[in-house]
Amino acid sequence: MRNSLLQVDDLLRGRGRFSGETIAAGGIRALLIFVITFGTFYGAVMGTYTGLAPDRAHQLLYSGVKVPLFLLVTFALCLPSFFVANTIAGLRQDFGEALQAVVAAQACVTVVLACLAPVTGLLYLSISSYRLAVMVNGVMFAAASFASQIVLRRHYAPLIRKSSKHRFMLHAWLVFYIFVGIQMGWVLRPFIGAPGSPVRFFRDDAWGNAYVVLARLILSILGGR
């Protein structure tokens, strides 16, 4: 327990096996364990908005499963194209470091989310609108994503020094990850669980396209309908 917390400290401070300079043995496995542990914790806290009611306790479980699932499935979907793009650019020999960098960034997202979980919990206690609860979580995820850039860039700095093509790869990764991530978040709804609607793992109408919905929304606002 204490040992793994010290490893989280290393990840945050960029020390020891997570200094970003070399590939650490078993580093990626440790990072994936962080993603699952801290992601599940934040997800469960996220679900407490309605999940504390007696017959809705499985909302905690669903939300807890969904946060790491969201990050890891998005990651898995983007990985093949990232691998191929790196290989084509002639950066294959650095792929181990690049992979560790993007996994470390996701571990950082979940650690930051977990440290903000008490704030989310407190805000849940004092707000009564579901929309506000969604917004609170949006702010927390945004903060975590920005904070994870520190870890991502710390890991990528030695690679970029080696070849400036790595900078392009980093930006391409971010664009694809965000593009897929938005749709993944849409498909995996509900994360929080709206009061009044029954607890389900997926929403009945979930298999839409976030971008199409967004485009229709913008059109309807512009059209005044």
């Binding site: 020390r15 919990g121 850039q149």
Partner: protein, 301 residues
């Protein structure tokens, strides 16, 4: 009982500034005792809570005696719960930005700051009690308490800033004396967004040669090392990071104030509004800011 007296002796040292001299803080924050400051926080919180709860006894018909007990428990809980909620994020963001303090050190400094905060607040308790005796306006009492909490909070934050700056200064002096001469800054890579430094914080801790009394982040760090009026050279990567760490600290302070206000809202009522029956907590509704604005408009109308 003896423990309690020694806790208050420690508080006295803290308030006089004897416990926060640069020499002592250079050795770390181990001398700021966590348990002793916790005792002080709880006792002084109870004192102020009682003075807040008096309103329910004096202005309600029949008097709500339970409000005194409830407020006495809630004031210390307010400060300690706010600390619990905000401490993890302070640690994580600090570690991400290279603030070289362990969680235990940060916690001791924060608990000392909260003790100072409550010392100021409890010293205002007689004034709150006096106004309670002479006022029947609930809005006025609400705003008076908000003002007193804010005043005490500013003193506590000022204390915390001083402590953290002195620790940082002591560390830089220590690194300089250990290396004999200041270390050369390590090469850094600008990557478009920020400066990424490859090495550890400690290695690049000292400023480059010929600028021993530089100020960091445009503030007055190092001002007590004598006058050194020169045009400042461009900032080193270490200093840039120092600045971003400072910005994060200020952002965290805003989070702390926000969480504190929201925590107070969740834990309400502290004073006990006229016309409402006694309850330990109220329904979920509204927020802190709305309520302050409503009190102001009530008072003016």
């Amino acid at each position: 009982m003896a423990g309690m007296f020694s806790s208050f002796r420690d508080l006295d040292q803290l308030l006089r500034g004897n416990a926060t001299t640069p020499e002592l803080l250079g050795k770390g924050t181990d001398h700021l005792k966590l348990g002793s400051n916790l005792t002080v926080v709880i006792l002084l919180g109870i004192i102020y809570g009682v003075s807040m709860g008096l309103f329910g006894v004096l202005t309600h018909e029949p008097p709500i005696n339970l409000q005194v007990l409830s407020s006495a428990l809630k004031v210390p809980a307010l400060f300690l719960l706010t600390l619990v909620v905000t401490f993890p994020s302070l640690y994580v963001f600090g570690a991400l930005l290279g603030v070289d303090l362990s969680p235990a050190q940060i916690l001791r400094a924060l608990m000392a700051a909260i003790a100072v905060n409550l010392a100021v607040l409890a010293s205002l308790a007689p004034i709150t009690a006096f106004f309670t005796l002479t006022t029947t306006s609930y809005s006025f009492m609400t705003l008076l308490n908000v003002a007193f909490f804010a005043l005490a909070g500013f003193v506590g934050i000022g204390f915390l800033l001083t402590v953290l700056q002195r620790i940082e200064l002591a560390r830089r002096t220590l690194v300089e004396s250990r290396h004999g001469k200041p270390a050369e800054p390590k090469p850094a890579v600008a990557d478009g967004v920020g400066i990424v430094e490859p090495d550890e914080v400690r290695d690049a801790c000292a400023p480059p040669p010929s600028q021993p009394a530089r100020e960091i982040g445009g503030s007055t760090w190092g001002a007590d090392r004598g006058l050194d009026i020169r045009f400042p050279p461009p900032p080193t990567p270490r200093e840039l990071r120092g600045r971003s760490a400072k910005r994060v600290f200020y952002a965290w302070l805003m989070l702390y104030c926000f969480v504190g206000a929201q925590m107070a809202w969740v834990l309400r009522p502290f004073i006990g509004a006229p016309g409402l029956p006694f309850g330990v907590f109220r329904e979920r509704e509204g927020n802190f800011l709305q309520s302050v604005l409503r009190s102001i408009s009530n008072l003016l109308n």
